[in-house]
Subunit: 693 residues, 2 copies
Amino acid sequence: MRLLKPLCLFLITLAVLPAAMPIASAAEGMWTLDQLPKDAMQQGYGFTPDASFVDQVMKSSVRLAGGCSGSFVSPNGLVLTNYHCVARCVSQLSSADADLMSSGLVADTPEQEMTCPNIELNRLERITDVTERIAKATQGLSGQAYADAKTAARSSIESECVGSEGAIRRCDVVELYRGGVEQLYQYTRFQDVRLAFAPEYATAFFGGDPDNFNFPRYNLDMALLRAYRDGKPAEVEQFLPIKPEGAQPGELVMVTGHPGSTQRLMTVAQLETQRDASLISYLLYLAELRGLLSRYEDEGEEQARIAQADLLFAENRFKSGEGKLQALLNPAVFDLKRRQEAELREFVRADPQRQASYGKAWDAIARAQQAYRKIATRYNYIEGARGFMSDYFRTARTLVRGAEERGKPDSERLGEFNEAGLPRLQQLLFAKTPIYPEYEKLKLGFSLEKLREKLGADDPFVKLVLGKESPQALAARIIDGTTLGDIEVRRALWKGGATAVAQSKDPMIQLVRAIDPLARELRARYEGEVEAVVDKNQALIAQARFAQRGTDAYPDATFTLRLSYGEVAGWDENGEPVAPFTDIAGLYARATGFEPYLLPPSWLDAKSQLSLETPLNFVASLDIIGGNSGSPIINRSAEVVGLVFDGNIHSLGGAYWYDERSNRAIGVHSASLIEAMKTIYGATSLVDELLAR
Amino acid sequence: MRLLKPLCLFLITLAVLPAAMPIASAAEGMWTLDQLPKDAMQQGYGFTPDASFVDQVMKSSVRLAGGCSGSFVSPNGLVLTNYHCVARCVSQLSSADADLMSSGLVADTPEQEMTCPNIELNRLERITDVTERIAKATQGLSGQAYADAKTAARSSIESECVGSEGAIRRCDVVELYRGGVEQLYQYTRFQDVRLAFAPEYATAFFGGDPDNFNFPRYNLDMALLRAYRDGKPAEVEQFLPIKPEGAQPGELVMVTGHPGSTQRLMTVAQLETQRDASLISYLLYLAELRGLLSRYEDEGEEQARIAQADLLFAENRFKSGEGKLQALLNPAVFDLKRRQEAELREFVRADPQRQASYGKAWDAIARAQQAYRKIATRYNYIEGARGFMSDYFRTARTLVRGAEERGKPDSERLGEFNEAGLPRLQQLLFAKTPIYPEYEKLKLGFSLEKLREKLGADDPFVKLVLGKESPQALAARIIDGTTLGDIEVRRALWKGGATAVAQSKDPMIQLVRAIDPLARELRARYEGEVEAVVDKNQALIAQARFAQRGTDAYPDATFTLRLSYGEVAGWDENGEPVAPFTDIAGLYARATGFEPYLLPPSWLDAKSQLSLETPLNFVASLDIIGGNSGSPIINRSAEVVGLVFDGNIHSLGGAYWYDERSNRAIGVHSASLIEAMKTIYGATSLVDELLAR
């Protein structure tokens, strides 16, 4: 299982919207900060972001390496983000005796702040174009050779950029426009990150899964982290002050953050693969996992605490995935995509030169999709580890592969082991995070069972893994036998490298060793026959698109910093207007006394002291998607007027196109954020820090 | 949840197979017994079923009213069927003290046979065409009026047929060719049915879900029931003797049974609805339920026993549904369907008369699909009771609706309450079947949660049901409060009718009463806007098809008696031949000591006494589908040479088309059936009865 990815989902299409679909307007677009649509912003809202605005926004925005966004909101390194972005940390810091999920956390002084073992913050410092350098390195190559050359080029660019500053600098080469542009993003890295404030789980997730992606909404999905440098609160030059009055109806608002991934530039063949081969099987897997974990949670308080973060993840991915699938099952969406593609291909065909350069790209991608479909199940279950759901498995694979890869020159390694990325990898590998053996057995047993189900009991790989054991028996034997829960054992294996790994009798290490040749083979096939082909030909399509309409468009989301703009506004639901704000009074009205509509004692006790008409949540026509969780919503003075934590139900199709009529981002309003911290939680010193100017 | 529907899945297409798809041959077709393809059988195998063969086969075949097939195999009412067809009965007859699932059952004398409370057997006696009578009753009508008139006509035909013989006669009007033909099927009804022989669950389900729909296979999925009449074993004139030598390679075999449902004659619009609106959402529901029940089973032996039948059902429906979905995601299948439809429409268009009569049928059906998509979720969750998964709910709805409906003239009632059907309905309503309150809470809580998820927490219906309670709290309150587990309470409410129901304070009765107006409204919309339109226009399409190619084709499966024929033969799997037989030695080789590959002690102990080379399972090119489970596989002398219990993995797309190259039915071989009963289970008297001639 990957780390927590955010709760919201939203999107855009590539400005090629023919009839029948609404014409994209102001609200559409996740813009890179070096290419903001200044004219359109000026025209629409009389506002042009100047250089100092852009600089402040860029230096104040942070990325949570696990898949969220946030912003510096004080000069002393205080970071505002969502509770759901730090939920796994809250869970890791909790135990049966001290359950932060029930109690929340208010640190009155930095000493009371608690270290989040897995969280890394990245602040963008510089963007450099490296398109040509990578083009040169991959010139004339295809398939596996192309993939290898590209990995090598990226690794060396990243390593050069990081230099000897790995502990505080992070460098990522990112592809924009699905391969049309390659850029180097240089970040400052913060690995000592502590939790300063979190409300109760019940408050942050009020409404739970039923209200997820819905509006009207009543959540205080917020948390405060603090970045540390050398053991002290990090001093930052730029930050975004909080405006306690918060967002106003109709005003221009902007969001800066790190949307994870959109598929608006995919070809029709790729979208069909998403629909038929990727989403459905993943959703079915998630649904079963969800049923399993729900029941496990009901077995006791301890089980509930242990499984909560995974269940949350599964439910959220399930709901957003279901929304994406529904969008792809909507014939109107596919018709739009087909028309867009046909138009571009027509443009290419109209000119022999263009036809020669780009004309074959779509069919090549379609063939790569066929190649993918052939290996999809094996690839996802073996190399993608869907069949090996255990924290220990992930650790063991990092150790086994790390030992082998670190013995190679940087440019020849699997991407995740290149020198530039090792600091983050080691942070995760040596993090002191609790692992629960019984729970690991449950997950591993389940996933091994699915492996057998999907590949078949007679499959040689399944036989290699299971032998004559049952999935549950194998899981129990491995989890009981492994010592990888001990950080020192992990350190020794990491340090001991290939020899130590080869000699290890740890059953999880042995399992990973046994399957690694096959897993690597699948990865090589995927990278060579699918990824490389798609990359190369998507780059051609991107060039054709540039030829057609210039670069006056935004790239698909890539977990890089983007700015979207729009306004505070509701929408029409079947002809009925949905008001853009909810208030604290509505929260009390919605409470039932049962989860997930159960208010914690703090809120029940404080009701009479609260201004009940304080705006709690609100919506705005901001183009966001998963990864934007925790993004600040700012006004034209770069003040925080809200905090993105979700999108409405109409945002779920946003992976593929953006419908301004109904797609809305949902935020916590700054006014209730301050009101709750002050009146409910008595977080006086943090509030003072936030409001100091 | 509906009653158990069988494990196998197979199919056919309507003989209009253009290029690219294999040409259908001998093996394709589920033929009604009054219209067997005698010429083709003679041509292919030199065998023509004569009148006495047909009579013997018809009178020896039985239907299990819950959704399976079987056959009389002795003159004293012994019925051969699958274990999985009686699994729910075995579970109902089991308790923590006497677990028949672990021990199996061997009745040495009729006195030791145990009553299956829910099983009803039907033996077909006569087929009468009623197409004209129904056409006359519905002439000129459409929508709700059409649906009402049809229900009324059917009810009166069925009631006339049953007369005062309801206890021993059953009459069903069935639609063939999706409405082209209406026939009255008259059955002899057996409601006193007892279990005479069952092996252990572990033997019957050896290989469990992983091996389900797979081959090579090693299951003894068999059981023997006995039909009783007036407290004594029923004497039957016709039966199928068992041939202990069993099926031979390459020989002509036939299967007679009750395939439940195929969708080979559906229009493209209907198939798209199946793919996009029906199957996916149902599979996601099943997947989550499966995860939940799996975990529940792991909590203890008692839980395992309680949930086993439901889990089995969910897993089987899941696997077969996934196979159907995969078939519909296969572009080749849709291309075939589109070509077939285009050809028929072209044929219709070519003649103005035909165009006037049939030309609008396809578009009308397509519009009905749109109407269905709009209500599908509400219809399935409310009227279809997907949101109310509890045995008590089903009972309560029968009582509430029964009270209302029985007050109306027969012809105006909801179909399931017409006079002719009451004996079966009462059998189920008053059956002494165990209900487990904690388990009911689990299922009801889960399904109410899904109801809220799918309709939304703000939906008025959800608010009506839940009020301020959580799904789990409501489920607990209702299950704790209901007294419907008491048969006498049910009898009193049934007898007391509308007044008793209106006065009932039982919380489940109250719930059903509260939602019934809305549920009935949805049903009326479904029947009027969807079902009636589809029925009427499918009848037109059927007529067009008859005009094009006569009635020399078989209708879609409708849970009526059919005969398929083919031969004992393996198939090619990726170029490798799969042999058609497995043997008992292979069973021992496949056993691992872990479920579901765990052999029970009886088999481990008896190994040395068995003929290990005895054929255990085999495959044949027989066109079957779910509902055929338990069907006898017979030779040209009407001797039982095997027992259908499944189809191979390639059979899963068979709902939509039949691919003779790889579609195979899987059967238990008669030789191992006898060998196991004799040597493992010492079922001497039953074996003697089976082999007596």
